[in-house]
Amino acid sequence: MEHGPRDDSARPRLSTSRFVLLLLLAVLFGPINAFADALNDVRGRGALRWGADEEGGAPFVFRDREDPNRLVGFEAELMERIARELNVESRFDQAQWDQLLPYLERGGVDVVVNGYEWTAQRARRYLATRPYFAYQFQLLVRRDGPVHCWADLRMPKSGGGRWRVGVLIGSASLTTAEQLGGPAVEVITFPGATDAMLAARNGQIDATLQDLAASQYYLNRPEFTELGAAGPPEGLGYYVMYLRPGDEKLRDAIDATIVSLIDSGELKTIYQRYGIWTPAQELLAKYQRREATLVGQEGRWLDPSMLARFLPSLLTSAGMTVLLSVASFPLAVLLGLVIAIGRLHAPRPIAMVLGAYVELIRGTPLMFQLFVLFYLLPELGLVLPALAAGIAGLAINYSAYEAEIYRAGLQAIPDGQMEAALSLGMSRRLALGRVIVPQAVRIVIPPVTNDFIALFKDTSVCSVITLTELTKQYSILANTYGGVIEFGLAAALLYMVMSLPLSWFSRWFEARLNAEESAGGAS
């Protein structure tokens, strides 16, 4: 794993608007890399700015339990030491984990330190320090489950299907799991390490591959007593810090400090304090840089063939986006209509319950609702597959909004319409179905279409419950292979291509209804 374990709390995903803004920023500020060496800036400023995501949590970077103003974690202490060596102050800057490298590129920080493993793709775009940590992975399973080591996962699963192994999104555990697992393994990505552990405990997945150090830290927590380590640690890789190309002097200064910390045994002391000193850390001392740098070898821009190669996976995830939208929205509209009618026409107690439902659903974030459906319902014995939870979550969330739109639409119909229908002998139900609702539908088409487009984009939130839709796929690809701009533009284009027809369809539908109403207009 390259990113630390996280809290169970919801983490905001990249919204489409933020994502476009980010693209713009990346395009505007991307080229300003060719500054003088950042080491001078750091000295001049008197502060070394380093970026990490606190949500990564212990043991990487987190707030002290006793004093929430104090930043602790082995990476925080490491940066403290490096800054002291440079005679400057250590200044932490919070950013969402998968946005840290773009943030670095924009000049927001001087160095990114947050469990990023060394990869060839990243080394082409950024300057890497020497390793400061050797990571390994540990397979975690339910103690009473059928899996006891990776070898079990290579054998067919009883009852058919593939073994489901959870990993942290965008992390090295993803590639490790894919390499270790054979055809019998399906790798599922989670937004946080503890989310994957919860899912493993709930039985929603068969196992999870976690950072060895972090898993030891978390296995002690009471909610994970059903989980245990299966087999020996797997994989081995280095965490490095990343800097902007051209900042070799700063990089060398950091490298020198890391070496001195290793040699003095101080690094070991820090790591032992966090319980993460493993035998593998001995490798850190033996590391020797094999090449000057890889930076610039392939240029800043992604090879277009890369984009072509991953277009199918972008399209597949776009398909998931469409599936989530078209499956959930009709449900939301139907549910919303029933709620709106109930609030206006049902007996008072029912109307009040429905009103409370609307307030509850509107008052809580979609992401929280998805967490409840996917991670908390299993505690009550209801295990929903991710797709079902995603569709249900979107439908429930949007039903509250549709209900309010419909309520407004229904109230816009004059009372005389209901009276006329009743006086013709219609029951209330028939009057609603034949007279009131058909008129209300015409009024609500524009706001409902708006909501459909909003829901369409909100499907990206479903990535928190392991569904790989377009935004998540973009995030995975951009993190794994670089190409924030290229993959980003491709994803944005796909969103546009998919949502434009929606707008067109809605305009056409409205025009058709209007034409129908003035049919026979020529006298």
Partner: protein, 250 residues
């Protein structure tokens, strides 16, 4: 045909009707007149249950008697029968704007009476021809004049074959040149023996068509009788004042 006894209707503390008795016989045209706020429209709306009343009862021939304060379940059951037998025409027409003229008229026969579409359309065409709108079947209500819309509304009420038709100020929302066409249709209906209860300010219509004129004032009927008696030789001072005011109105 209609028997109203001791009808009491309150809006909060305000007593709109305070114990009204009313009888309408089959084939009769009962016209309700009175100053605004006298409760005449409310009385009409109590007859087909659009208003809930707090005291007394309303009985329509062929349906259970509707008593004040009866359980909701009983009320819906009684009204289901009552509303099939009692049609209503509103001041604001209340046509269904999303349906054509023809569909406005066939909607209830098809979905309430279970009539076949073909039969309902045949009858609707005949009714619309009778009110002079045989050529406008496919129009939408908003493409018609007010007078035309009100005539469609009359055809719509008649399509259910009602025993009684209630008219709630059917010409009050119309320009003077259009009131004639609507009153003409109503006069024809009365001649054909249709039982009608009409709330109106159209005194000439009342004089020519009414069997009985009921004058309402302060929540009750203060004077009833044939138009010749009530309109030409009123007993009550309030009726005289009302007639003077109506005569002065444009």
């Amino acid at each position: 045909m209609i028997t109203v006894r001791g009808l009491v209707k309150r809006h909060g503390d305000l007593e709109v009707l305070n114990g009204v008795d009313l009888d309408v016989k089959r084939g009769e045209v009962a016209v309700l007149i009175g100053p605004s706020g006298s409760g005449k429209s409310t009385l009409l709306r109590c007859i087909n249950g659009l208003e809930v009343f707090q005291g007394g009862s309303v009985a329509i021939e062929g349906a259970e008697r509707l008593e004040a304060g009866c359980p909701e379940r009983v009320r819906s059951r009684v009204l289901a029968t009552v509303r099939r037998r009692v049609g209503m025409v509103f001041q604001a027409f209340n046509l269904f704007p999303h349906r054509s003229v023809l569909e406005n008229v066939t909607e209830a026969p098809i979905h309430v009476l279970g009539m076949s579409k073909a039969e309902a359309e045949d009858r609707a065409r005949a009714l619309l021809a009778r009110v002079g709108l045989g050529e406008k079947l496919d129009r939408r209500p908003r493409q018609l004049s007010g007078g035309q819309q009100q005539r469609v509304a009359i055809a719509r009420a008649l399509a259910m074959g009602p025993e009684v038709v209630l008219f709630d100020e059917p010409t009050s929302a119309l320009d003077p040149e259009m009131t004639g066409e609507v009153l003409g249709v109503m006069t024809d209906l009365a001649r054909d023996g249709q039982t009608m209860v009409v709330v109106t300010h159209a005194m000439r219509f009342a004089r020519q068509v009414a069997t009985t004129v009921h004058v309402l004032g302060q929540g009750n009927i203060i004077e009833s009788g044939p138009p010749s008696a009530v309109l030409d030789d009123p007993r009550e001072e309030a009726t005289r004042k009302l007639l003077k005011a109506e005569a002065a109105a444009p």
